[in-house]
């Protein structure tokens, strides 16, 4: 088990967001968390990333472990620099006042000296040729799809081995959506572990090996993607019949 969330109870202020959920991600897997708005998907990711306040959810009980070691005391930048987990946040959060290249460069901030950056740049530009064309452009001026590519590319430049994605398909045209998911598959085949949060359950389950269905802060169902896709309750609630 690479990453495990154990009986996690999380509050925002006085509001209970996660009622003691457990899930895990094995090395090399694609795992997806699906569920409706407000189910606690993003909260789960933020908890794992140890984001600072005010966005941060407060862990009341339970634990999050990375290779068996609790990361509740880990600083958010260490989650990236030491544990090699990078989040692609919902809404992309690219640095619009920086160029595409500067966005990517900034993601290498905490990489050890002498890291093979040129290989990583090559990989990002290979996955997303559009970014290469626009590397000198202010990233604010990119289209939504290109911004999403940059958000993913930027996460890859941190040298991550685990990629956490929050609603990456949101706001993308269908063609771009499929393109992005193909890229994720490709990354996974190269050894990247992926934890994917999606509202588009169908798309997510077709990509992932396993999935968890979240419902108002609890795990309503879990299993392999085939199981979940065949589960009549899941079908009814999340896959449009």
């Amino acid at each position: 088990m690479l990453l495990s969330v154990e009986n996690l109870i999380v509050k925002y202020g006085n509001i209970l967001a996660l009622h003691g959920i457990s899930f895990h991600v094995n090395s090399g897997e694609i795992v997806t968390l699906i569920g409706a708005n407000g189910a606690g998907k993003t909260t789960s990711l933020y908890s794992i990333c140890r984001l600072p306040p005010p966005e941060a959810p407060r862990v009341v009980a339970g634990d999050i472990k990375f290779q068996g070691e609790s990361l509740l005391k880990t600083r958010p930048n260490e989650v990236v620099s030491r544990l090699k987990m990078a989040l692609v946040p919902e809404g992309r959060h690219i640095f619009g006042n920086l160029t595409v290249m500067e966005n990517l460069e900034l993601a290498t901030y905490s990489r050890e000296k002498g890291a093979q950056l040129s290989e990583d740049y090559a990989r990002v530009f290979d996955l997303f040729p559009r970014l290469s064309e626009r590397r000198k452009q202010r990233s604010e001026s990119l289209s939504g799809g290109e911004q999403q590519m940059l958000a993913v590319g930027r996460a890859l430049m941190t040298g991550c081995q685990v990629l956490l994605l929050d609603e990456p398909s949101m706001g993308l045209a269908p063609r771009l959506k499929y393109e992005l998911f193909r890229t994720l598959k490709q990354l996974n085949e190269q050894g990247m572990t992926i934890l994917l949060v999606e509202q588009n359950a169908n798309l997510a389950l077709h990509l992932a090996h396993r999935g968890y269905v979240l419902d108002t802060g609890t795990i309503a169902a879990s299993g392999t993607s085939e199981d979940l896709l065949g589960n009549p309750d899941v079908k009814k609630a999340y896959l449009g019949g």
């Binding site: 260490e78 619009g96 006042n97 900034l106 905490s110 941190t158």
Partner: protein, 303 residues
């Protein structure tokens, strides 16, 4: 006529240099923390006092010549003043940030820090003013009816040098890139593996050391020090930063020089008692037309 214009221009640049150097600290910290660090004017005051002690120590105790004392005083004052800025950040602002306190409380904390610096100084050193020792021979040059001193030129040159240096830091270095990134989207910065606190400390080092530099230059130009010297000039520099567009380094300099120019012009044509009244009125008018300042951009949130 031309000589008068150039004369006033030099005076305005020199006077505006102090505002610009101090405004920088406001703008840098605002850019990174969206905090108006109201203690900054008093950090300038502390800088001037540190310069006083370092210079006096060099001259009287070690017996260095004036120029050598100056060479020691400048870097030492900048380092010590930046330590004061960083200490305030560590003691006062960081605990609040850790708890996710609302900005309002941090601003009030900043105001209190400023007052503590002022009154701490008063308590420690007493109310008597200090005379700053002269470190260089002020030489007066007159070229075609325009009078200036080597010190005035040095002040203007320092401000311009600082501007170029800071522009370089902010646009070309990784720490500068991180500062710009924080200004745009604080949320995503730790996600890049960037230790936010280090960037914040770097920002306070930059801002406070420039306030320290302003302190030395100010003390050399107007060699009377008193605990409240930072209050009004700090407020004015803050306003200069806002008029320039807070969060933008170019804005801080432009605002600083603009405020300097307005003040000098008012004094050139009106009784000097009207100086602050007219200067602030002009700034108010500018803000009425451009509420975000000359270089400021209204923050839009993309969904």
């Amino acid at each position: 006529m031309l000589a008068t214009i150039i004369q006033n221009l030099i005076n305005a640049l020199q006077w505006g240099s102090f505002y610009a150097l101090i405004a920088l600290g406001y703008t840098l910290v605002y850019g990174v923390l969206t905090l108006i660090n109201f203690a900054h004017g008093d950090i300038f005051m502390v800088g001037a006092y540190i310069a006083f002690f370092v210079a006096t120590f060099c001259l009287a105790t070690i017996g260095l010549p004036g120029w050598a004392a100056l060479i020691v005083t400048i870097p030492l004052t900048m380092i010590l003043t930046s330590m004061v800025g960083v200490a305030i950040e560590r003691i006062a602002y960081r605990p609040l940030r850790r708890k996710g306190a609302h900005r309002l409380y941090v601003v009030i904390t900043a105001l209190m820090c400023g007052l503590i610096l002022e009154h701490g100084n008063l308590a420690l050193l007493g109310a008597s003013r200090k005379a700053f020792p002269s470190l260089i021979n002020e030489q007066v040059f007159t070229v075609g009816g325009v009078t200036f001193t080597n010190l005035k030129i040095a002040v203007i040159a320092s401000a311009i040098l600082v501007f170029v240096l800071l522009q370089w830091i902010v646009t070309k270095t990784r720490v500068g890139m991180a500062m710009r990134a924080i200004a745009y989207d604080k949320f995503a910065v730790p996600l890049m593996g960037i230790p936010m606190d280090n960037i914040i400390v770097a920002t306070f080092i930059l801002g406070s050391s420039m306030a320290g530099l302003a302190g030395i230059l100010f003390a050399m130009s107007y060699p009377i020090l008193e605990p409240y010297m930072g209050a009004l000039i700090g407020w004015k520099a803050f306003i200069a930063a806002v008029v320039g567009g807070i969060g933008d380094i170019r804005g801080a300099f432009l605002g600083g020089f603009l405020l300097g120019a307005v003040e000098i012009l008012v004094v050139a044509f009106f009784p000097s008692t009207l100086r602050d009244l007219i200067a602030f009125t002009v700034l108010l008018v500018i803000l009425a037309f451009r509420p975000t300042g000359l270089f400021g951009i209204a923050k839009t949130t993309k969904i």
